[in-house]
Symmetry: C2
């Protein structure tokens, strides 16, 4: 078992030196906090991660949840973990004091998720609970909050997001689960949901589903979907809870993230499932989408955390494993073998992992910061933060997950044959991370969101804001001679994006959205590389300042120099990928749009 | 379970139309064969694959081999399979009539492997046996052949390749297993071997290890390694077999390819392991390396087969799974959902899978053809075939495996959430294929072989020969107006490779091999894209000819047009990747070579 699974030093660097988390406390909402309370929360999460999660990484993978007699049983350690999380106040950390929370910024909560998921992503339960409770506090009545939120935040109950149906995955407009109004104001729910994470298990006393359904007679498509609270056990009005006819039809056996049960649920088998409307009828999808940024930051963070744990495992192995001699000393057979970290190809793989994981973490904290400002600021500041966040989200969800998959693959490769065995954690992490480019909107969906909506909304205001932000980093970097070439390269990359957009916009004007979006995934990839390049330059500027002003030594010197080195690695090895992507994106040959004639694929 | 796992039509296209397998029968050695006997062998393999392998794909994955009381038990179907393969003559198909084989070309045997591994790569046993037997017939005495080969080729015994040791993976010069001469000419063997595929199991009556060891007093390094036959049970000279003190120390539990046991073996625990020298002392590594091309074609083919099976599963799903409407018809909520194959992004993923898998298969058959010619031709023809094969091998091993991993990842993505579940075969195939960039020489090792040896050997004769071969395809393609642009692009790509080589050669002249090879893996990637582009252009020329001369209709028309379409896809989507790779390869900034100062990675 690898002993290190994340770097506290790097987390503090990003949180305090790059993104200056404490500045958030100038807003009234966060004013009860300071740097110290932030760090205490991270220490508390680290303690839980170290003691209750990381030691069980393999165990929860090897003993996946099973459905027997209608009940799902999960690893006994899950219950202990949920209790500890509730007691530490970490499930409700982001909720207001009024709602029983700690009123902590998303930036801090995201770091908590990062630590927990790096320790053991198979224990992915509490983020779902927070998300479900957040929907209730945001859109439900005070009575609904009172009835459900306290037990959710203490970890006694489990929350879920119940969107997907067998015939409606990416296409939520095709949701068919029905809700029939009852005289008492509640609804009878009937239908099926699939892929519901933590959708049933015995570590919680009740499961509270935040479920999309269609009220009888509702409009078709996305405009007729409503949001309901559908508990596993419902209150009978006399302080008792009765079975709510939510049947566990099946538990999926999966490639990874085996610790958390992914459920197929059936509502209303006995015509006795009751749901409680959250907010207004037919507003379910807008409500869900207001939570989407939060959920997608969560997925990006999970991917980053998994890839980070794999990177540290690979790094530890590469430092210790001797194999062969250095290439210019091949004939020195009497000399001992060298640790593989000294081979350029292994070092390249490690730098790639460091570049991907620390670049992703930086972007996600940037997104979390924007999230916080969009919540607590006012006027233009709030609006701009929201627009920027909206634009960055498809990248912040997909880059960490897509590139995280590649990164863990390089972790496996660093181990050679041992990486393929269960003797080391990387084979499990390789399986675990593969879901992240799929859930909460596949990469293809993120790409359509980015190019089809975010780049053009409000007359293209979001990319204008973003380019201005990136411009600030470029200006900062340009003041240092050794960073200036990279600042210039980033300027050239922004121009490249604009050229690509110019070549694509005519399709929009022609109303040919299918053509406009046909290579959207490649645009997302190109955009992602540039965004991460920005994040690396930003980190390099801070590191450079520290080197100039703090005169660091030893580990600190190596840390800051490592940041600048990895920035260079990203620009020299990853950024050139934009060349090929731009060529394809500006290419006029259509090869993926169906015509009348069916090709033999 | 997907019903199709490979395309017989495509196999016949490559074998007969592109590579004209029957032309091999003009050589005396293959003269007993014709197109019909070739096809009969493929049909025989298909029958075994359909009936004894594919139906057990999941089963052998879910019931991995276990070591109990010193004996490894495998799935009972394995024994049935080995028997059938022996009876069909498929284990020995490539051996000479004298050695009890069918004297079939490697081209045909490679197609057999392709079919078998596409059906169920977890039953990867017989290729190992053929390889082991081939070492004995090639370098051993007639007595050794007589004693071991017949039972290997009938599938009653299992053969293995026992190279790797705990401290010697990529670095075979550090092998320490010892061989002490005995008065009777045999050797006492002592040491440990790890990662020995099929290294022990109960489906074979005996296990015959072809093992590398160092005779007492042998020179250090690669020049002191000898090859031995080390059986699990050895003949006692009186028609009995006795235990040869080869202990199964452990069976690795792995991420994939779970059907085949990967063993940790200990020789000489009781000082009673006897080995029989194969060929001359200290020639073990040259012998092994003479078999390496064969073994690496096998790995490339396994990777291609796995990715092909995943592609057909994804294709079937994409044709059947309705989800959402086409992008220009988003508002037609009353219309039924469209099969996802009609979404450009899904079609892009499928074309990528088709381009990678059929491109890889084409390259591997090219390599197999060269292998055959290098075996049976004479003089310059033989020598040139051998040089070309040697040059292509690093690509033929690594492109199918590296890009196969990517391809299966896109198969998973095509399925969305279902791809992550055990309900469909792609999650297993995703796990299975991940070993292929590791075994038989990791991608990093292949890259060093390509750039460090193959590009420069004999004064660079091999790339000259290759470029001349590619030139022929370019000339053929240039005669067709619609293929000419691609021919021109391929010419430009060859120039790009030459430019990269020109920028790297000074490092060789300076004797700085570490710098020369520091980005060898990227060179391999660049070279691989160009080689596969060549294979696609070659296929497109043949398809174009068929369209012009055969006037095909229906499925045949679609097949040939699909070939040209996929060639275009490869040139428009994959070839542009060379731009970024070349930029990095010509870049003078050094970022991966260790200097005095340790960076904080």
């Amino acid at each position: 078992m690898a002993t290190t699974y994340f770097s506290k030093r790097n987390l503090h660097f990003l949180l305090h030196e790059v993104f200056k988390a404490e500045e958030l406390t100038k807003y009234e909402y966060f004013s009860a906090h300071d740097r110290e309370t932030f760090n205490l929360v991270l220490d508390s999460a680290t303690y839980i991660a170290d003691t209750l999660m990381h030691p069980h990484l393999k165990e929860v993978d090897r003993n996946q949840p099973e459905l027997k007699n209608g009940q799902v049983t999960v690893h006994p350690k899950i219950k202990e973990y949920l209790k500890a999380m509730g007691e530490a106040g970490l499930i409700g950390a982001g909720f207001s004091f009024d709602n029983g929370g700690q009123q902590l910024p998303k930036m801090i909560n995201s770091c908590v998720s990062f630590i927990l998921m790096a320790a053991n992503n198979g224990m992915m339960y509490t983020g779902l609970t927070s998300g479900a409770a957040h929907l209730i506090t945001s859109f439900g009545t005070p009575e609904l909050s009172e009835a459900y939120v306290p037990n959710l935040l203490t970890g006694i109950w489990q929350g879920t997001m119940a969107l997907t149906e067998p015939q409606a995955g990416s296409s939520l407009s095709d949701v068919t689960t029905s809700a029939t109004p009852q005289p008492d104001g509640s609804y009878k729910i009937k239908g099926q949901k699939v892929f519901i994470s933590a959708g049933d298990h015995d570590a919680a006393e009740n499961i509270i589903h935040l479920m999309l359904a269609r009220i009888d007679g509702a409009p078709k498509g996305t405009k007729g979907i409503s949001l309901f609270v559908v508990p596993k056990y419902r209150p009978d009005g006399q302080d008792n809870f009765v079975d709510n006819d939510v049947t566990s039809t099946g538990v999926y056996h999966k490639m990874g993230q085996k610790g958390v049960p992914t459920m197929h649920l059936t509502m209303g088998s006995n015509d006795n499932t009751i749901g409680y409307l959250v907010g207004q009828p037919h507003q379910g999808l807008p409500y869900m989408f207001q939570m989407m940024n939060e959920a997608r930051i969560g997925v990006g963070m999970t991917a980053t955390a998994i890839a980070t744990a794999a990177y540290y495992a690979a790094l530890e192995y590469a430092r210790e494993r001797p194999q062969s001699r250095r290439l210019n000393q091949k004939n020195l057979l009497d000399s001992p073998q060298t640790p593989i970290i000294n081979h350029p190809d292994v070092r390249r793989m490690l730098l790639f992992q460091k570049a991907v994981t620390e670049g992703s973490l930086s972007l996600l904290l940037e997104a979390a910061r924007l999230y916080d400002i969009s919540e607590v600021a006012e006027g233009e500041e709030k609006e701009n933060a929201f627009l920027l966040l909206d634009l960055l989200m498809p990248v912040a969800k997909s880059y960490p997950s897509e590139m995280g998959v590649q990164s863990v693959s390089q972790s496996v490769q660093t181990f050679g044959g041992y990486g393929f065995t269960e003797d080391f954690p990387v084979e499990q992490l390789y399986r675990d991370i593969r879901i992240t480019p799929i859930y909460e909107g596949t990469t293809g969906i993120q790409a359509q969101d980015l190019l089809g909506r975010k780049m053009t909304m409000k007359g293209g205001k979001a990319p204008k804001l973003l380019f201005a932000e990136i411009g600030k980093t470029i200006a900062d970097a340009s003041t240092h001679d050794d960073l200036k070439p990279y600042a210039d390269q980033l300027t050239a990359e922004l121009k490249r994006i604009q050229e690509v957009m110019s070549s694509l916009m005519p399709y929009v004007q022609q109303g040919d959205i299918e053509r406009y979006l046909s290579d959207a995934t490649l645009f997302l990839e190109l955009f992602g590389v540039v965004i991460i390049a920005w994040q690396w330059l930003k980190q390099a500027v801070v590191a450079k300042q520290a080197l100039l002003t703090q005169n660091p030594e030893g580990d600190e010197l190596a840390f800051y120099e490592g940041k600048i080195h990895t920035m260079k690695f990203f620009f020299h090895y990853e950024v050139p990928k934009t060349l090929g992507l731009a060529v394809r994106l500006k290419d006029t040959e259509v090869l993926t749009i169906v015509t009348e004639k069916e090709l033999a694929l």
